[in-house]
Symmetry: C2
Subunit: 318 residues, 2 copies
Amino acid sequence: MHPFTKHFADSVSALGETRLIAEIRRWLGDVSPPAPFGIGDDCAVLPPNPRRQLVTTDPVIYGRHFDDTVTPRATGEMLLKRNLSDLAAMGARPTAAVIALALDPRVRTRWLEQFYRGLAAAARRFAVPVVGGDVAQGDGFLGAFLTLFGEAAGPRIVPRTGARPDDWIYVTGTLGGSRLGRHWRFTPRLAEGEWLARRREVRAMMDVSDGLAKDLYALTPRGAWPALAADAIPISRAARLHARRTGRTPLHHALCDGEDYELVLAVAGRADRALLGRAWRRAFPRLRLTCIGRFVAAGKTAAGSIDLQTFHGYEHLR
Amino acid sequence: MHPFTKHFADSVSALGETRLIAEIRRWLGDVSPPAPFGIGDDCAVLPPNPRRQLVTTDPVIYGRHFDDTVTPRATGEMLLKRNLSDLAAMGARPTAAVIALALDPRVRTRWLEQFYRGLAAAARRFAVPVVGGDVAQGDGFLGAFLTLFGEAAGPRIVPRTGARPDDWIYVTGTLGGSRLGRHWRFTPRLAEGEWLARRREVRAMMDVSDGLAKDLYALTPRGAWPALAADAIPISRAARLHARRTGRTPLHHALCDGEDYELVLAVAGRADRALLGRAWRRAFPRLRLTCIGRFVAAGKTAAGSIDLQTFHGYEHLR
């Protein structure tokens, strides 16, 4: 559905701000708690929480993160799930969300309704109350900016930093070809992230959003580089399909496409990897956890490893 | 300064995303703590806090909340202060902020630097660490979406709801004419909000952002209406100046302009108002606290009171 309308009567402008906010609360339904915990006061009030709090923010913008080919429902779901993936990447779970909208007055009310109903469905599924927000006018623009709060799910959270030379590199699921649909159909790895954060051999973790070729640098310890085995990379079916159309290799798509929303992690070099593998398969029998390489001291060569510098992940602002 | 440039070398696109984020951290300086408390991981991590947490979100958008006549520094300050005003309105104080940017690749790097330096100056002044954010591309658009966290400053927070018929209506400072400069020069009433929240006779409170004529309805208890005395409204000098240009009355500007960022509150009908006034003047000798009327049971008439329905505050999405 195209988000803009030429008919005033169908637009959010015809609805006006006060009624629009009332409608948003109706569309959100039971994931919108009453004030002061939810929408309706100067601030939303969250209950005291003895755990460490986490915060992350990610938007969806028309023409950038979605277009007319993605349904408004899927767009709303995607907005929440992108942010959930960031919590998953530290081993945390969600507690509340706020959402700031910037929209052209000609945005179609029905588009926005479906968007909020999709967001509400995902919020219900992952038990995230939507406690507040803001609606502002942005001419020729349509974007939704979500800020998500979470709490440490277990005794620790796992940062990006913490990997050491000789640590193994693992990735969940398969990579590449997200543009064929996974960029909005994915499932944030919340249960997996929480499980991995409880394993002491997991030293560092992040999610793959801009493509492994770009994101992996943030996980790489100083004085080391990631030696990846080309034949170990779990390439998705979508990456293979996409490669047939683009003429690039499936490996290229697996490393560069981004929006995989899988977890990539560093496992201590001396860990019992067989034990980790068995425990993982018992916990998540339907999702792969693959060792794709190792961080090696800079200067060392590793036979058969990929030269990551020849691949590029997604570059923003280009 | 116009935020967009025709010269590629001066644009954020020339800088690229990775260097831009490094620059943002540099511009923020000491208000940007290191990861995992600050920018640089999948989420920011906040320390545990035994108090109730508050959340609010407000943006600044080019063409809507600022234009070429407002300096980028003032725009950055304004973004934080708008959100601080929402915390003040409940008697809370800030703990952390995250900021999501959406910007055209042609945005001038120097504009953005000055914007962040202004934001940082305000963050330093009000002791708010900027712990995270996101940078996304929005074609032809420039907006910054800030989400602010806070905590209850005293034993209670003051909601918008809670006023009763016969309660007095008070307002801090003076109202109107914000477009002459106060919409970005204002001081959020954090100390005043905290002080008022400790007074038990204060039953409900909010900040004036869309104009008293519109905002006051949110404070009005069911079955009552606000009887305001026209000659009691504290009209600002800017409202009088602005009225000379527009041909409207100064009262109109005081009630309708919006962006005053003063506090409006309900005080229990049986409160000792002389005592409240004396205590206020001792605490805040340089700021007025004015009783402007009373909530009266619907149907009752109040001689000399303003018919608020003839005034309109700022309407979004029009």
